[in-house]
């Protein structure tokens, strides 16, 4: 009963990620994206996924590389300057396979706030001009019903409610209380917006062990559905306090120019991604 939230990676992806799921991922650009979890989504071939994120990079690009993505809701999809553009995402949108729903990062935030508050839309100041407003049906401009005569029109953004938020953290207990070191980005927000929260953690400690660090807990356990222990679970992205980006592995991915090479890239992580659970099973440890 107590530890039922803790499970291995395969089980977590199998149980919680469905074809067509709307997913939210932790981190920002190349930082603390739940890459190990995403690689397992690739291995299990979940399809027609939607992803929502303020600023995405390799997380979205990897899923796009395998044709698993239907729609991306984001303000920015690219590696930063040093690593160039998100080629697979771009090609997908340009060829019409992927719908690129461009937001301002802030309208993503507002759309997720709508989900945390269970309202169908969120008013958003600032998005007053330009093509995003006209081209996209997830924005609307309405009158202010409190002051119809005099007031400025108000832009609304339609709520985006992720089915699952996948959040990689440095440490978490068996009950799902999760500590994030360094930048939190929009992780608290997605943990509240999503219907279900999955934590992948560098280290999973027994329940109660985070008591003396309670002020650092960003996601309380009762919001968490599943906990997966995954050392190096953000690699080759960075994970504050644990490791920085793996330059070589990012390059290996961005320079891969065939499906075969991409598959090999994912396969090269197989042992690392499943490592702890494999070891546990071999030892007969119940976890």
């Amino acid at each position: 009963m107590k530890n039922k939230k803790k499970m291995d990676l395969k089980e977590a992806v199998d149980q919680y990620i469905k074809d067509g799921s709307l997913l939210a991922f932790s981190g920002n650009v190349l930082h603390r994206a739940p890459m190990g979890f995403i690689r397992e989504i690739v291995r299990q071939g979940k399809k027609n996924l939607e992803v929502v994120k303020t600023a995405a990079a390799m997380d979205v690009d990897l899923l796009c590389a395998f044709g698993l993505v239907k729609t991306v809701h984001a303000g920015f999809v690219s590696y930063e300057t040093k690593y160039g553009l998100a080629t697979h995402y771009r090609r997908g949108v340009e060829s019409g396979i992927i719908q690129g729903n461009e937001h301002a990062c802030y309208t993503v935030i507002c759309a997720l706030r709508g989900a945390t508050m269970n309202v169908p839309f969120m008013p958003v100041h600032g998005l007053q001009y330009g093509g995003l407003l006209h081209e996209n049906d997830y924005f609307m401009v309405v009158e202010n019903p409190f002051e119809q005569e005099t007031a400025e029109p108000v832009t609304l953004v339609k709520t985006l409610k992720p089915h699952v938020a996948v959040i990689h953290v440095q440490v978490c207990d068996e009950e799902g209380n999760a500590i994030i070191e360094g930048a939190k980005y929009e992780d608290a927000l997605i943990s509240r917006a999503a219907d279900k929260v999955i934590i992948t953690a560098e280290r999973v400690v027994p329940a109660g062990q985070l008591k003396f660090q309670k002020d650092k807990i960003v996601i309380p356990g009762f919001l968490t559905e599943a906990v997966v222990e995954m050392p190096k679970g953000a690699a080759p992205c960075s994970c504050e306090g644990k490791y920085d980006v793996n330059h070589r592995d990012i390059k290996a991915f961005t320079e891969a120019d065939s499906t075969d090479q991409l598959k090999k890239w994912v396969a090269s992580y197989e042992k690392q991604d499943h490592g702890r659970s494999y070891t546990d099973r071999q030892r007969g440890v119940k976890s």
Binding site: A55, F76, K82, E102, K184
Partner: protein, 237 residues
Amino acid sequence: MYDKSDLMTIVISRLLQDRETVFQGVSSHLPMVAMQLAKALHAPELVQLNIPGGVNPANIRQADYSSAGSDLTRNAESTFPLEEIFDLSMRGKLDVAFLGGVQFDYYGNVNASVIGTYKKPKVRLPGGAGSAVLIPTAKKAIIWRAKHDKRTFVKDVDFITTRGNLWKIVTPLCVFGFNGTNLTLDALHPGVTIEEVQQATDFDLDYQTIYHTEPPTTKELQTLNKIDPKKLRGLEF
């Protein structure tokens, strides 16, 4: 001796005033360095804001491949995350926002979205990130762009991601201003002629008097090299 990235960084730092709240996003090494430079030189109480939420990071030397990493929080003064920076700008309390873009036209329209049409793009760009809400709401939006050519400064942008409180566009050749109606030529960088800028710009330049950027001072260059020894400001050149 200085190059274009040094010059642009120094020009941008001069645009920042003491006690202003200033935001820099992803892929923004050059303005990140400019903020630190302004703080070191003439704006000690500048409030530097960034995506990871580190207010006034003591230094930026570890931010080598990203301007959005947790290194900016490690030795910051307090925490103010992205969500709240946007809210701050919505309330009219963000003084300066640094933003990018790929195409700019005479009327101050910014395109960071697509080349071609939105639904069937020829090229899908990374997206405007914060631009679409920050350019209309920040008191002063500054755009920097490492390229100055006719594909960048175009007659008509393919798509209007946003427009609004655009204040300056800083390029390797010049500084544009915005008078509320159209871009104006504010200043030519040292050694640059008006003809060079016009040749690199697809719309007719609007100017009355021709001003020149003051060349970097020794102090500016020395401080710049101290703040940014790895020359992160040059990453996009």
